[in-house]
Symmetry: C2
Subunit: 471 residues, 2 copies
C-alpha cells in the first residue's frame, strides 16, 4: 500500500451555512488546534486532532505546519481563462469593454501555443491565489477549451468549463455558429466530462451574444447530457439587460431566456445577477439555480451592488458562490473577492437600514448583507461548492472529500499586517475559533495573494509562495 | 558646494488638471524617456532629458533607473496615524465602528513608547506604499501628535497633522476638554508648524464628537493662526449626518457647522463628503475648501459612493484629494485607493448614464466619474497637492519643488501581472506617453504596494522594496 500524506497543523473549515446562525455563527465551523489531516490517493481519509489520530501515522509521511492556518481550497465560481492579459482593462462598462478589450485578446486563444503559454500564467496565478477549483469560461475556440482541460488535468484540479458559445455581438471571426458550437461541445463533453477531475459546462456566453438558435443548441445539449453543468452570465449591467430583452422579445425578463430553454435548474450558474428582480430571485431559488457574486468585477465595470442579503432570504434562499470574474475582476485572489464582497455588503447594509430612505428599510436583509468571516469563508469554500453542486466532493475537510486546501500565512502581506495581526494573538497563530476568525477577517480585509503560503491539490503541494516556480 | 543627486530614468508627471482635456488628456502630463532629475539640498534643481542636462552632471552623483518609471510621490490627504493595528476591523458602519474598534486602540497612544513603536510601523507602511506626504489625524493626546511630527522629521517628510479634538461621543478618558485642546494645540502649533517640513492642521475630529465649545476653540485657533490648515471629517454616513444635525440644531446642514465657525475656506479639508448635497458642493467650491475622497474607507464602512463627477463640475469645481483613511481604509496603498476610486467612479458612471433611471441621466457628470490614468495620478499627486494648498512645494517634477518621488516597478505584484503588462510593451518599460499611462493603469487596476520599488523623500531614498529595513 502506497504511503499516505498527513498534514499536521491548525485547521479551520465550515460545516454548514452560517447565515441562519446569528449570534452563534461559530456553530457553523470547526477550528482544530494541532489537528491532523490524513490523505490517501488524494482523498481525505481522516481528520481530527493530532492526539486522536496520531496512532494511525505509521503509513504516512507527516508534514508539520505549526505556524499557519489550513483552510479548504477556494472555489472560484466564475473566471475567464482567456482574459489574463487584459485583466483590469481601462475604461468602460460591460458592452463596450467586451468589444474594445476582450474579444481581440480572446481571439488569440485559437492558437494552441498561445493558449498553452496563457494556461501556464493562468494556473500559476490561480494556485498562487489559493484557488483549487474554478468554473471557467474559455473562448469560442475548441482549442482553448482543450488546452484549459489538459492543463487542469496536468495539475490534478477539479474544474468545470466548456466551449463558450457566442454567435453575435462579437467580431465575425470570434463568433461560432450554433451548429458548430453544438458539434464541438458534444466532442468536448465526450472527451472531458468526467475525465480525471474535469466536469463539463454547457456554456452560452450571455443572452446578448446568443441567437435563439444558439440557445436551442444549449437546450439540446442539456437534454442529451443532463449530467452536465450550465454556465453563463445574467443581469450584469442595465444596458445589457435592455439589449437582452430586445433580443428575446418573447421573454418577459432575462431569467425567462434560460427557463424557456430548459437551462435554469440544478447545476446552472449565472455570473453577476446584479440587477435580478425580486421575481427572478424567487425563480432562481425554486429552480435550485446559482448566482455567482463577482464583486471585483461588478465594481470594476461599474455594474452595481449585488443584493447578497436578498439572495440569502431564508424564505427563498438562492445558491450563491463567489467568483473573481478575472479579467473584469482585477485580481485572481479570492481573498480580494471576499474583501470586495464585504464592501458591497456593507454598502447595501447602509442603504437598507432606514437611514437613507425609511421606506426602504429592511433590517433583516440589511443584516444578511454583512459578510462576517464565517459567511465569507463559507461562500469561498463549502457554500461555493454547494452552489455548484460539488459539496459531496470538495469544500471542507470531511473525510471522503478530495484533499484540496490552502496553507495561509496570517501575517504575510502589506507592511503593517504582521503587527496588526499580533493584536489578536502575539505569535499570529490562533488558539481558539474566535481568534481564528478574527485573524481570518484580517486576511480578508488586509490580505491578498501574499496570504497564501501553499496550495495543495488532491493531497499534493502545487504551489509554494517562497518558490514561485512550483506549480 | 555639496554634491547633488541626479536620477536618470523614465519620468511621468502631471502638469495640469486633465478633467477639462477630454480627448487630449495627454496635454495634461509629460513623459520623458531617459530623463534626468537634478536634486540639490532636497530641492529639484533641474528636470529634462538626459541629453539636455547631462552637461551639468559634474557635481552630481548619478543613479540610473532604466527599468522603472519615476513618478511624483503620492499624497495621502486623509489618514489616521493611530489606527494601524485596527485597520480593516470587522464589522459595522461608522458610529459603532468608532466605539468598538477605534477609540480603545487610539487610547494607547498616550503612551510615548507605544506611539513610537506604532510610528515605526506607520511610516514604514506609508513609505512602502509610495506615500511621501500625508495629512494625518493623531489622537486627543498631545503625546501622539508630538511623536507623529518627530518621526516625520526624522524621515524628512512633508506632513500636515494636528492634535485631534473630540470632547463627546467617545470614552471619557479619550475626550479632551475644549480648553485643554486649545492650550495644547497652541503649544503644538508654536513648536511644530513650519518646523522642517511639518505643517499644522487645527483638527476638530468630526461634528458629532465636538461640542459647540470645541468648535469655538477651533474657530479661535484659526483666527490666531490663520496660516494653519484645518482638517476634519464631513458627511461620511447617513446616520452620522442625522446626529450632527441634532447636535447643531441651529445649522441647516453639516457644512454650515464649519462655515459658522470660520473654518470653511482655503486650507480646509474634510474627509469623505459622500452625502454632501448639491448646495454644499457649491459652497465648498466657492470657499476654496477641499474634500478628501477615501474610497477604500467609504466602501469598507459601507458609507456610500462619493460623487466625483459632481465635485469636478467645471461650473463649480471642488478641490479634491485622495486619501486612504487607513484604518477605515483597509490599506496604506494609494494605488489601491486609485483602484477603488476608479470602481466608485464607474458605478456612478452607470447610475448617471440613463440606463437605470432616465430622469437621473447626466452624461457630463457621468463622464467626469471615469477615472482615467491621467485623472487618477493627477489626484494622487499634483491635484492632491493643489487641494491641500501645497502645489507650490510638491506634486510634480517642476524645478524648485521638493524632490519627493517614487520608483515604480510596473511589472511587480500579483502573479500574472508581468505577462499582463508585457502586452503593452515587451520589456515593461514605456517608450511614449500612451504606453506609460497604459502601464500605469495596469498598476492602478492590478498593482498594490508591491509596485513601489523605491520611495525618495527630499532627494533621499527612504524605502527600497528589496530591503524592507530601509526607512
Amino acid at each position: 500500500m502506497e504511503k499516505g500524506t498527513a498534514i499536521r497543523g491548525n485547521f479551520f473549515h465550515l460545516l454548514k451555512d452560517p447565515w441562519p446562525l446569528i449570534e452563534k455563527e461559530s456553530d457553523s465551523a470547526q477550528f482544530i488546534k494541532d489537528g491532523l489531516l490524513l490523505i490517501n490517493d488524494g482523498i481525505i481519509s481522516g481528520f481530527g486532532t493530532y492526539e486522536e489520530l496520531s496512532s494511525r501515522l505509521d503509513n504516512y509521511d507527516v508534514i508539520h505546519k505549526p505556524d499557519h492556518l489550513l483552510v479548504p481550497g477556494f472555489i472560484d465560481g466564475h473566471i475567464h481563462f482567456p482574459q489574463v492579459r487584459v485583466m483590469g482593462a481601462y475604461g468602460n462598462q460591460l458592452l463596450d469593454w467586451l468589444q474594445n478589450s476582450i474579444f481581440p485578446e480572446e481571439l488569440k486563444y485559437r492558437d494552441r501555443d498561445y493558449a498553452t503559454t496563457a494556461a501556464h500564467h493562468f494556473f500559476r496565478a490561480l494556485l498562487g491565489a489559493g484557488t483549487t477549483t474554478c468554473q471557467a469560461f474559455t473562448t469560442s475556440s475548441p482549442v482553448s477549451t482543450e488546452v484549459f482541460f489538459d492543463e487542469a488535468i496536468a495539475r490534478g484540479m477539479r474544474v468545470i468549463a466548456g466551449l463558450t458559445g457566442i454567435d453575435k455581438f462579437a467580431p465575425d471571426d470570434y463568433c461560432i455558429s450554433p451548429h458548430e458550437f453544438y458539434e464541438e461541445s458534444k466532442k468536448l463533453i465526450e472527451k472531458y466530462h468526467g475525465l480525471d477531475r474535469c466536469l463539463y459546462a454547457i456554456t452560452p456566453r450571455f443572452a446578448v451574444g446568443c441567437s435563439e438558435e444558439m440557445m436551442q443548441a444549449c437546450c439540446q445539449l442539456k437534454k442529451e447530457y443532463p449530467d452536465c453543468w450550465v454556465n453563463t452570465h445574467i443581469s450584469e449591467n442595465p444596458s445589457e439587460i435592455r439589449q437582452a430583452k430586445e433580443e428575446f422579445p418573447d421573454c418577459f425578463d432575462y431569467t425567462e431566456v434560460h427557463e424557456k430553454h430548459g437551462l435554469l435548474g440544478p447545476k446552472f450558474t449565472a455570473g453577476h445577477g446584479v440587477w435580478l428582480s425580486n421575481d427572478e430571485f424567487r425563480r432562481f431559488s425554486h429552480a435550485g439555480a446559482a448566482v455567482c457574486f463577482c464583486p471585483l468585477s461588478n465594481l470594476f465595470l461599474g455594474s452595481g451592488l449585488f443584493r447578497l442579503g436578498k439572495a440569502m432570504d431564508p424564505d427563498q434562499p438562492v445558491r450563491v458562490c463567489l467568483g473573481t470574474d478575472m479579467g473584469a475582476g482585477n485580481s485572481f485572489s479570492m481573498i480580494r473577492v471576499m474583501e470586495e464582497a464585504y464592501k458591497v455588503g456593507l454598502c447595501n447594509n447602509t442603504m437598507l437600514d432606514g437611514s437613507v430612505n425609511p421606506r426602504e428599510q429592511d433590517l433583516g436583509e440589511s443584516e444578511r448583507n454583512k459578510l462576517s468571516p464565517y459567511r465569507a469563508f463559507y461562500l469561498a469554500t463549502l457554500g461555493g461548492a454547494k452552489a455548484i453542486y460539488l459539496d459531496h466532493l470538495i469544500g471542507n475537510f470531511v473525510p471522503g472529500k478530495e484533499a484540496d486546501f490552502v496553507s495561509l500565512d496570517l501575517q504575510a502581506g502589506q507592511h503593517a499586517l504582521a503587527w496588526h495581526q499580533q493584536l489578536t494573538c502575539l505569535d499570529g497563530v490562533p488558539s481558539a475559533i474566535d481568534e481564528a476568525v478574527e485573524l481570518l477577517f484580517g486576511v480578508l480585509a488586509c490580505g491578498d495573494d501574499r496570504s497564501v503560503s501553499e496550495t495543495w491539490i488532491a493531497g499534493k503541494c502545487r504551489y509554494q509562495s517562497n518558490d514561485r516556480g512550483v506549480e
